[in-house]
């Protein structure tokens, strides 16, 4: 058979251009002749190849045209590859859901952490230093007020505690047997009424002197129930305590008196303040205004603040400030008899006995 004629038949067969009779005839031929069968297969594959080649060529041409056209219309440009921000936008578009979820989780986490911090961290008030006076929250106040009412009804019908909100609580100690007490200024700041408590006895007191710079205040008990103390067991030390010297304190972080001991860790206070000292001692809100004593029973300072960022770093106002305050007060005739003890009488006692003597002179201060 003529090659060209055969090829034509194959092509017409592949294109489905044969009529039924022709097609049956050709298929029979194909069946009986493996060479022709092979030719059909080859031709089919090759024509496909050719067609694909043509399409690719056409598409390449179209793409080139498109490229030139877009370039002309400035829709693409060699300079316009700054897609850095575009990448960020893409990133944002793609992940905004994820980011939103992550952000809310982060938000919730942050909130819970700060909530947890609020719960577990020491009470916040000013900067890195925390006053050791006890700020009393509203809940406690209400509870106290209720307790007071109950007390009034049941036990002490004439309690001195006013029915207003308690602002803060701290510690104070006698510096003169006639009812003069030293404490921190921040304990009594803004208070309208002061009640000092010792061993269950409440006494009304008032502020008679303040020294804001040194965070010092002198109170006077003005209460008919008050009986003067003839002799104070401790003295006020005039010289500075030495580094490493053992110290102890008494105070009211709770409603009962609490003893703690430590040592002098620095001769100056926060930010090198030479009017105070640094102690390593355990102290809590409520300890503010408490006496810091050396092992012989001499007062060397008044416990005032602690470092929020460090553990057991506590600052105390130097006792010399009390002396200065008293000298200042004596200029006023009203206080000319103010007498501050200079000698300790508990020098050679063991600590337990010292405390027994001391605790009658250390008062809780409640500021209203």
């Amino acid at each position: 058979m003529d090659d060209l004629l055969l090829l034509d038949k194959v092509e017409r067969y592949l294109r489905n251009e044969m009529n039924e009779v022709e097609k049956t005839e050709f298929e029979l031929l194909r069946n009986n002749n493996p060479d022709i069968d092979q030719l059909v297969v080859d031709q089919h594959a090759f024509l496909n190849q050719l067609e694909k080649y043509g399409q690719q060529k056409e598409m390449k041409h179209l793409l080139h045209q498109t490229h030139s056209r877009l370039l002309e219309q400035n829709l693409i440009s060699p300079a316009a590859a700054p897609a850095k921000p575009a990448t960020v936008i893409e990133f944002w578009k793609r992940y905004k859901r994820t980011i939103a979820v992550a952000a809310s989780i982060a938000g919730v986490t942050a909130l819970s952490i700060s909530a947890a911090m609020q719960l577990f961290a020491p009470k916040a008030s000013q900067g890195y230093l925390q006053n050791l006076s006890k700020k009393v929250n509203a809940l406690e106040n209400r509870q106290n007020a209720q307790n007071q009412k109950i007390n009034q009804l049941i036990t002490s019908p004439n309690s001195k505690i006013p029915e207003t909100e308690q602002l803060s609580a701290g510690t104070s100690f006698l510096i003169d047997g006639d009812g003069y007490l030293a404490t921190n200024f921040h304990v009594i700041n803004e208070a309208s009424t002061l009640v000092v408590v010792n061993n269950g006895h409440e006494y009304i007191a008032k502020t008679v002197y303040t020294d804001v710079t040194n965070d010092l205040a002198i109170l006077k008990i003005e209460d008919k129930d008050w009986k003067s103390v003839s002799h104070l067991p401790y003295g006020i030390r005039k010289n500075n305590a030495d580094l490493g010297e053992e110290l102890f304190t008494l105070g009211y972080p709770r409603n009962t008196i609490v003893y703690n001991r430590g040592y002098l860790s620095a001769g100056t206070g926060y930010n090198d303040d030479s009017l105070s000292i640094q102690l390593s001692i355990s102290a809590n809100p409520g300890n503010s205004g408490g006496p810091v004593l050396d092992k012989n029973g001499n007062i060397i300072g008044i416990l005032s603040t602690r470092d929020r960022q460090s553990d057991a770093v506590v600052f105390a106002t130097k006792a010399v400030n009390i002396n200065k305050a008293i000298e200042e007060m004596r200029k006023n005739t009203e206080f000319k008899d103010l007498q501050i003890p200079s000698k300790t009488s508990i020098r050679n006692m063991d600590r337990v006995d010292q405390i027994k003597k001391l605790q009658d002179c250390v008062f809780m201060v409640k500021a209203y």
């Binding site: 090759f46 067609e51 080649y53 043509g54 399409q55 060529k57 056209r69 877009l70 793609r94």
Partner: protein
């Protein structure tokens, strides 16, 4: 779903050589590839070449009735371009760790392999066509590629009738076949 059907429509248009759809695909995806390539030791022209190669892969896929894109066109094109370009850099020993954004990637190994075969076939056919010479080349292109009618071809090429043109065409085709397969047997 709207996005999905829009992309399917674009692919259908691409398969039919619709220039509007080609424009859209080109415009919406070239920038990303351009950024990637120019940030990785390439030029604007490199980006053009690589992007058009990827478009050809997508074009072949779009004609396949079995094919359905399982990701965005953007992701698909970007993945292919990235792979092609990194391969090219490697061949030129200019490869370094790629600088890129946060684009999604899909595996395109099969596409890259298929593309190599396609390129190879294309080059072989182009060689064969070139060696075939005129008027055989144009005659075959007119009939097999441009799908012109034999009568018109006869008229265009100056044959006295369609049968003569047809006979000539078969002769040309047989020569082309020989030239084509000769390259494989080398």
């Amino acid at each position: 779903m709207k996005e999905y059907s829009k992309e399917r429509k674009l692919l259908q248009g691409l398969a039919l050589n619709d220039s509007r759809d080609i424009d859209t695909i080109y415009r919406e995806n070239f920038g990303l590839v351009q950024t990637f390539i120019t940030q990785n030791n390439g030029t604007f022209d490199d980006a053009r070449d690589v992007f058009q190669e990827a478009m050809l892969v997508l074009y072949e896929k779009s004609k396949d009735p079995e094919f359905s894109l399982t990701c965005q066109i953007k992701t698909y094109l970007y993945s292919i371009c990235r792979r092609l370009w990194l391969k090219r850099l490697q061949q030129q020993n200019r490869y370094s760790h790629p600088v890129e954004g946060f684009e999604d990637l899909v595996p395109v190994e099969e596409e890259i392999e298929a593309k190599e075969k396609l390129d190879n076939d294309f080059d072989t056919m182009e060689n064969a066509m070139r060696n075939l010479g005129e008027p055989c080349k144009s005659l075959l292109e007119a009939f097999y590629i441009q799908k012109k009618q034999m009568v018109d071809i006869a008229d265009e090429f100056g044959y006295t009738n369609a049968d003569n043109a047809k006979n000539q065409k078969y002769k040309c085709l047989m020569r082309l076949k020989k030239l084509f397969f000769a390259q494989y047997s080398k």
